[in-house]
């Protein structure tokens, strides 16, 4: 097996059998590989199976065809170093922020005295060092999502799965979160699979953009984004940037009113 990839998705398919016996194929023949430390954006229309893909990679669901290898090992072996960020932060309202961040370690039973210091470091990295003892109801949506990102990072994952993490945020917060996640990713060096609806977000963040077509979900394009890091605002307004987004739009088949 090839160990040089952080994730290998080999010909993965997922078919649900509905109660009336009809097969509903959500994913078909997905085949792609992610190098360690790579940031891969996944775009596609709603219902194209992007979330199913992430859940399959995280081991929450099993593929009905093909296999997924994380660092060359089948995911069923129990992968320790995957973490997930959801669209909604779902922080526990009875825990303060730092205790929310520590939750995965308590689940794993690996919380130590050192963990708290690391959780504090993570909160400081996302600019919430002073809010460790605050509760989620005191934070804005963007801040809550940053805490949720810290919660994902606390187990020092090598692979971070993000399922439309900024989908519920307003446009301005979303922009600043994009800068934030680029910085976090560059600091931690983990591989990221980033599912989004936003093509510009996908292009700006990704080393690659994987375009998933719908019914059934399959890869229709895999485009390398050739911008230097760290990326700034200027890239978003360059001609190359709009060329990328136009190309991706053509693959998805979006009709846009505004370019």
């Amino acid at each position: 097996m090839n160990n040089e990839y952080a994730i290998s998705v080999n010909n993965v398919g997922k078919t649900y059998r509905s109660r009336d016996g009809q097969d509903n194929t959500v994913l078909k023949g997905l085949d792609f590989h992610v190098k360690p430390g790579q940031f891969v954006s996944i775009v596609g229309q709603s219902g194209s199976g992007k979330t199913t893909l992430l859940k399959t990679i995280s081991g929450l669901q099993e593929p009905t065809e093909g296999e997924i290898l994380v660092k060359g090992r089948p995911i069923r072996d129990g992968i320790e170093d995957i973490a997930m960020v959801f669209q909604s932060p779902v922080l526990l309202p009875w825990r303060n922020n730092i205790d929310n961040v520590l939750l995965p370690l308590e689940f794993r039973g690996t919380r130590t005295d050192e963990s708290r210091r690391y959780a504090q470091e993570l909160l400081e990295m996302v600019g919430l060092g002073g809010k460790a003892k605050h509760y989620s109801y005191e934070l804005s949506g963007g801040m809550q999502q940053r805490v949720a990102i810290c919660r994902a990072l606390v187990s020092r994952p090598e692979l971070l799965l993000m399922d439309e993490p900024f989908g519920a945020l307003d446009a301005m917060t979303r922009d600043s979160m994009n800068f934030e996640i680029q910085r976090i990713w560059q600091t931690t060096g983990c591989s990221v699979l980033f599912v989004t609806h936003s093509i510009s977000e996908a292009v700006w963040l990704g080393d690659r953009v994987v375009v998933v077509g719908d019914r059934p979900g399959r890869i229709v394009a895999d485009i390398a984004i050739d911008f230097p890091r760290p990326r700034g605002k200027e890239h978003r307004f360059s001609t190359a940037f709009s060329d990328y987004t136009t190309e991706i739009e053509s693959h998805i088949g979006v009709v846009t009113g505004i370019s």
Binding site: L60, V90, P93
Partner: protein, 286 residues
């Protein structure tokens, strides 16, 4: 509330309950027992109850019904003052029956609700049956409990339990089922043991819902105890009412109503208060 899960979860909630201490500032409105707001709320509630008594007394004065039909609150309170030991001892009996029934019903209800949630197999067999049993008026079960458990304390406590049980089953089940799926997935990705998932997420999430059920159950339990006493009692407030009925002693009857309402109200607020203490985060919900 004898369930081990709840006390475990409860102490966890309490440990983390004072957010203002951790915040180092008074910015967060805390659910104090006697804040200015709660004094106003309390004053309004008391005014409402006093107003009810005033209206009641006025109606009795204006229409002046014969004493075998209705009496005013003054006669009822007068009766209470005349025979304090009689009412106190009978109240104590009813209170014990209601509390025992409530405790048992709560413990069993939480257990049952949890089993329904965690075992789909049991749920598919038991849930329809439970709903069916729930449609039987629990009052109708009282004679059966008397056959089974005799004329004493136990049969009344069991009637109270039978009534208190169902709201807790439903609310525990609903509360556990309302845990967001993201949290379930978070637990699974991090390979949390079932026990850790239950104690760190599920049961704490369900506390508000469980307390909603308990608030319904506590008043029902008092009613259940009284019904038991109606059918086979030689003491308790239900017996006081029956005896007063046979003697056309309406002041005693109304006095018993007042005491019943008072203990149901007091118990309700105790449960409500305990719920607020255990669920401080609910007060800040957006």
């Amino acid at each position: 509330m004898a369930s081990p899960e709840v006390s475990e979860v409860g102490s966890d909630g309490l440990r983390q309950s004072p957010p203002e201490a951790a915040l180092g500032g008074p910015a967060i409105p805390k659910s104090k027992m006697f804040s200015r707001d709660s004094i106003v709320v309390g004053a309004k509630a008391v005014a409402g109850i006093v107003g009810l008594f005033v209206v009641w007394q006025l109606v009795v004065i204006i229409f002046s019904p014969p004493e075998y039909l209705a009496v005013g609150p003054i006669s009822a309170f007068d009766e209470l003052i005349k025979r304090p030991d009689y009412f106190a001892s009978n109240t104590w009996v009813t209170l014990q029956e209601a509390l025992a029934g409530f405790a048992l019903g709560t413990a069993l209800g939480i257990l049952c609700g949890a089993v329904l949630h965690y075992s789909p197999t049991v749920r598919s067999f038991l849930y329809p049956a439970l709903i069916a049993i729930d449609t039987i008026p629990k009052v109708a079960l009282a004679p059966l409990f008397i056959v089974w458990f005799g004329f004493g304390f136990e049969s009344k406590a069991f009637v109270a339990m039978a009534i208190a049980f169902f709201p807790l089953v439903i609310n525990t089940y609903d509360g556990l089922s309302s845990v967001p799926h993201e949290l379930q997935e978070l637990a699974r990705i991090n390979k949390a043991s079932p026990w850790k998932k239950m104690t760190k997420i599920d049961f704490i999430y369900a506390i508000p819902s469980i307390f909603s059920g308990a608030k319904i159950s506590i008043s029902l339990a008092v009613g259940g105890a009284v019904v038991g006493e109606f059918i086979a009692g030689s003491k308790g407030l239900g017996y006081v009412i029956l005896l007063a009925n046979s003697q056309v002693d309406l002041p005693s009857m109304f006095a018993a109503f007042i005491v019943l309402a008072a203990i149901a109200l007091a118990l309700f607020f105790i449960v409500d208060f305990a719920g607020r203490k255990l669920v401080p985060w609910k007060n800040h919900a957006k």
